[in-house]
Amino acid sequence: MGKAFGFFKKNILLIIVLLLALVPVAGVPSYQFYIIERGLQNAIIVLSLVILLGYTGLLSLGHAGLLAVGAYTFGILTVTYGINPWIALMVAPVVAAALGALLGIPSFKLSGPFLVVTTIAFGEIVRILILNWEKLTGGPYGLGGIKSVIPSAKGMYYFLLVLVFLVSVATMRLSKSRIGLAFKAIKEDEVAAEVMGVNVRRYKLLAFTISSFMAGLSGALFACLTNYLNPDSFTFAESATYLLMVVLGGMANVVGAVASALGVTALPEVLRFMVRSRMVVYSLVLLLVIRYSKSLNMKTLRKVLGKPEGSTLGGGE
């Protein structure tokens, strides 16, 4: 039995993906189907936080802003400029990555709650820009008529599934690599990392860039799924939900992140029959999971949020 469990554990990502591949065959109603698609799209942005928060220990609450950059880049390129959606899908993450790299610069000097506030500000600036730059973004009226890269719902679903699988595998490879180790060293002990030759600034920037690239990709896919964009979809509350997803998934856990993205996306819909008490129950479920889950590492989060940088430098001498 131990062996069977070992096999299960080793291939759990593949098993989840194969199970999800059966969903279209099982004839799930279209709304539920759409929710799973959104869950997959969310999984990619949650994986981006696995790299930034789980590995590198940098907390961003502005990722909805990066999602918006990806989504609007895709929307504007395809609708306003009539560019091929596949090309737009490749450009959108790059634009988000470039902006995300800029967002990474304050992380050289700021840490903990100070960096968090900066990322919140970034998210809000993006949202307010979108809201007011009506000519380009449609402002509060939104941006409609966006065509997906793959028109068929089933085709889009499989495309998302494959993307989530590939991004997950890439994230796992990154985790095991020297770059992943450098990220984790920065999270645990910046001074030790630096003294062992890790260019801390460069690697923080790299973490922000990779993470923003993935957030932008998720944003472009969001645009494909909704076909309509509106600044209300990119509020601070969204960023907080992504944080919740990554924390529930175990922060540095790829499979956990994917499962948690799917679960938390589906939960409010599953609870829809409760009508008015729905959000109360939703919050309660999440609170209970956080309180009683053994796999959650709240200590890390507390450290990321609260610990001022460079408290001791080998001193005490």
Partner: protein, 255 residues
């Protein structure tokens, strides 16, 4: 020829001069000691040399180049590795991965190769495995390689830091109180480890309060107090130096 040299090095914290016009010299292949009472500025010297603190004057010359003002990771790339007085290992990583961090500057796999898991990455991982295991063996931690570091006892975490430092193949290793907190047996093992590292053509500068350790290993000792050098020489030369005795014990009463 001096491998590492500080020239009139100064470090101030506000009105306090922690390092005061300090001249040190570590020759190629030598083991030097840096001793002094608590608060005399020993660790600060290491922090300035490794770039953690910016100097306020003077020079640090390593291998013929001025390195003061470089970032810590640049100093590491020049060939200076160090350990810390209060251990700085990565507790939630394995022992193996802690040593692997020491190889960061000597490995080259980039993002592209990593994501596509190319042969280059596999080859590099294979190449470093032997080196990591050899370093772990040297400090007696090979059997713990898959253990989480935070589960190791203090003494073993301390030598793990040394293993991490030596895989970077430094020309000089700076040890900050390596024997502090170790028991007698561990201290003796540590002396053997340090001797072995020295034999590999690595110079060593060590800060230590454990005098048997200093006596047994160093060929030259610098004594500092209030950031100023008060004596230098072999251990036996400085042992009876009245200035050194005064720094440690205070001035004797005349009556």
């Amino acid at each position: 020829m001096a491998l590492l040299q500080t020239n009139q090095l100064v470090k101030k914290f506000g009105g306090l001069t922690a390092v005061d016009n300090l001249d040190l010299e570590v020759k190629d292949g030598e083991i030097c000691g840096l001793i002094g009472p608590n608060g005399s500025g020993k660790t600060t010297v290491l922090n300035v040399i490794t770039g953690i603190y910016k100097d306020d004057g003077g020079k640090v010359i390593f291998d013929g180049k001025e390195i003061q003002g470089l970032m810590p990771h640049q100093v590491c790339e020049m060939g200076i590795a160090r350990t810390f007085q209060n251990i700085r290992v990565l507790g939630s990583q394995t022992v193996y991965d802690n040593v692997r961090l020491g190889l960061h500057i000597r490995t080259k796999a980039d993002l592209f190769n990593i994501i596509f898991n190319t042969k280059k990455v596999a080859r590099e991982n294979e190449a470093i495995r032997e080196e990591i295991e050899e370093a772990l063996d040297l400090v007696g931690l090979l059997e713990y390689k898959n253990e989480l570091t935070k589960n190791l006892p203090y003494g073993k975490q301390k030598v793990l830091e040394i293993a991490r430092a030596i895989v970077a193949k430094p020309k000089i290793l700076l040890l900050d109180e390596p024997a502090a907190g170790l028991n007698t047996a561990e201290t003796e093992d540590l002396m053997d480890i340090v001797r072995n590292i020295s034999k590999r053509n690595t110079s060593i500068l060590l800060i230590e309060h454990e005098m048997a350790f200093v006596e047994g290993l160093t060929s030259k000792v610098y004594v500092i107090n209030y950031g100023k050098k008060i004596a230098e020489g072999t251990y036996n030369e400085i042992k009876n130096n009245p200035g050194v005795i005064e720094a440690y014990l205070g001035r004797g009463g005349s009556n």
